[in-house]
Symmetry: C2
Subunit: 436 residues, 2 copies
């Protein structure tokens, strides 16, 4: 076998949520081939997992990776002022080089924090794909499309989207492409319907922002007579291949629509809080059997890409909001951040540690103050672990980090590139003073 | 001079919130003696702060340090079930050895995360003091007192409290003792008044839980005809020397009382969220000029002692609750976690980096993915830094950690001791299965 991971506490996140003490895993040809008390036979590489939790890699289902370059550039502003006066002017200056640098920085941050798969939406998809390929993690990339707020025709947007889907989805690899119609308020009905039809025809998914702010919902009802989710339902857009980011403000009937259509809600608690968008009704979603996964959103509205932080925030926010300390418990949160994310992206081959699954595996060092004493591993992962406790990361059986030493990238070079390209971007926009 | 810290980005948290790029600090006899572009003269020890933020040590104004031993033992439970079925039975078995081990673990976790001062309430204060003295950090310890829920007389409680105050406050050092009447519902009026009078007479502070849950407020109004803060006001308990933990459910008149009396509110967002206690009206407190500091509460209801996490949570929670993304901005949060905490504890000598202040200094490494690009240092500290980015920690001019190597304690030995004592404690209570 290629890799043997020995004697760890294996948090499987399988259907039964089993936690296996003192268990070992065998990895061959990028897959998990055995999980048992003792794996017999020689391995090319052996990882000592004593004192470590072995868990599935985290899945971040909504990001704008290139925006990692805008971390900390503008904070504590009302949403529209933040977008119109800060973010959009910067984005107008973005070149492929910035997108590559920001994406690579994002990949580094994510892999060092145990995230092995992410679902992105941005422009210049080839640059994001290059960062994914170099870093070794797994990415679903959406080509962002909008025709109502840009001078793009439906045909142009679709032509480019279709080309990206064909280019990447026809070959094996860690990059998959979805269509990314940005939101119901930035896309025409014609574009939304075209994206839906093409996604079905080409057998891929859809990634969209929906019902993020109360304003969006009010505008939609005034302009279309329907709330955003109702509207998407009416035009036939919704289905199990749709990852709907945010869904903060559903109306009663919209819960039913999300459930019936098998839509995958991507919950972004930190971003929703930071820009004061609102609090998504996650306990109700879960009670009604609606599928929810977790995400960070872009670093400009978070300001990290840290899924451990997101897990803790999810559990805390919905406890206090519902007034019930037993709401959204640790096991549920961990499931949303792993297997739930995999389901959202149509990747049944990842998201849990089971024989036959792809070897996207994370080891967490428990010999740290914040994970001592070593009581409940699932509780520790959600309430006490930090992304800096991630020790080793494997994707597709390939070790990307071991003992916190990143193997697939040169971290120092990635940080330098990101700093340099941020300087270039801010200088272009006349905002160089934003750098310290 | 003793120590020179060279060429860092100095986040002073002084009255003007100045951030000084490329500045150096000189430390002599435990105090900051110079902050300038270039400090002349030889130093016994030089710290290279290039690529680092230099900030005041964080102040955590409400902890139960010994409970670090109960981290992860029980989660996701309603408050009374959690207390009555899990925490209180464990606490009934606590011996001094457990309290020492838990406190030492807590000190290690805090110092590695940049917290240099904390405000504790627990039993067996000498054991907590021993941990503080060994670890090198600064602790205000309260002798917990209650006569309504334990077989202790007012005289007994006061005698022990007075003895601890006399023992520690009469000598120089990093341990200070406050009186800790637990809460208005666990202490008789006689005990509360006695504690207040003794605190005034001996020139020390008071530490109390107030208005944590809605139930507490309802009970208080039914039993006493007054909400908890009103009740404390009526009996003359409140004043500028009172650290009031939680204050989640104030009524209109109580805001006025808190402000007039100069009470120091200790805000514990994570604990309040985790046990679904509620959301303290922090923006209103700040608008009305009420002094607010930040805290983690005990690790059993958090489950960490991480002030970086607490800072981020504070900013996020009150933005989404108020619907205003500009509410409780980064600079305000950082002030609450440093200078505000120092004020709460009556320690004007710490909390900011200014000439003449005690040298409680933290260096944060910015050469990490989550702090790249290096845009706004204050925003980065609140929204993007993790406690694992803390590189160097100094208290009273003594270096406790440098380059993440802890000098004052042997971390491995502290973790082992904590694991062993947790095993002993759980075995005593017949709950050994809670350990992994």
């Amino acid at each position: 076998m290629d890799v043997k991971i020995e004697k760890g506490t294996v948090v499987t996140v399988d259907g039964e949520g089993r936690v296996l003490k003192d268990h070992s895993l065998a990895v061959e040809d990028g897959r998990i081939v055995e999980i048992s008390r003792r794996v017999a036979g020689e391995a090319e590489h052996v990882i000592d997992a004593r004192g470590k939790i072995v868990m599935p890699g985290l899945v971040n289902t909504h990001t704008h990776l290139a925006m990692t370059l805008m971390r900390g550039v503008a904070d504590d502003l009302p949403l529209m002022k933040w977008l119109q006066e800060e973010i959009w002017p910067l984005e107008a200056n973005l070149e492929p080089r910035h997108i590559y640098a920001g994406s690579l920085l994002g990949c580094l941050e994510m892999l060092m924090g145990g995230t092995t798969t992410f679902n992105d939406m941005y422009f210049q998809l080839d640059e994001v794909a290059r960062a994914v390929e170099e870093s070794g993690i797994r990415g679903v990339l959406s080509h962002a499309m909008f025709d109502l707020v840009a001078e793009t025709s439906v045909e142009e947007a679709m032509r480019e989207g279709r080309a990206k889907v064909r280019k990447y989805n026809s070959r094996p690899g860690r990059v998959r492409v979805f269509f990314g119609p940005h939101a119901p308020y930035t896309c025409s009905e014609e574009l939304l319907v075209a994206a839906k039809e093409e996604a079905e025809r080409l057998g891929t998914g859809l990634h969209i922002h929906v019902s993020e702010t109360r304003q969006e919902v009010e505008d939609s009802r005034r302009e279309k007579g329907l709330a955003p989710i109702e509207y998407l339902e009416k035009i036939g857009f919704l289905g199990p291949e749709v990852v709907a980011a945010h869904c903060v403000w559903p109306k009663e009937r919209e819960f039913e629509v999300l459930r019936e259509r098998g839509v995958k809600v991507s919950h972004n608690p930190i971003s929703n809080m930071k820009i004061a968008a609102g609090i998504a009704p996650v306990p109700e979603y879960l009670n009604k059997g609606i599928q929810v996964s977790l995400a960070t959103d872009g670093a400009a509205s978070n300001n990290t890409l840290d899924m451990f932080e997101t897990m803790k925030m999810t559990a805390l926010l919905h406890k206090v909001t519902s007034g019930d300390a037993s709401a959204v418990p640790a096991g549920t949160v961990l499931e949303m951040a792993t297997a739930g994310g995999a389901r959202a992206l149509g990747m049944e081959e990842i998201g849990s540690l089971e024989v036959g699954k792809r070897a996207d595996i994370v080891l967490v060092n428990t010999k740290v103050p914040n994970l001592t004493p070593f009581t409940n591993p699932v509780s520790h992962l959600v309430y006490a672990a930090r992304s800096s406790d991630v020790d080793t990361v494997m994707v597709d059986g390939r070790i990307l980090m071991e003992g916190r030493r990143v193997r697939s990238l040169d971290p120092g070079a990635v940080l330098e590139l990101a700093a340099r390209e941020t300087e270039h971007l801010l200088e272009k926009g006349g905002k160089l003073e934003r750098l310290t």
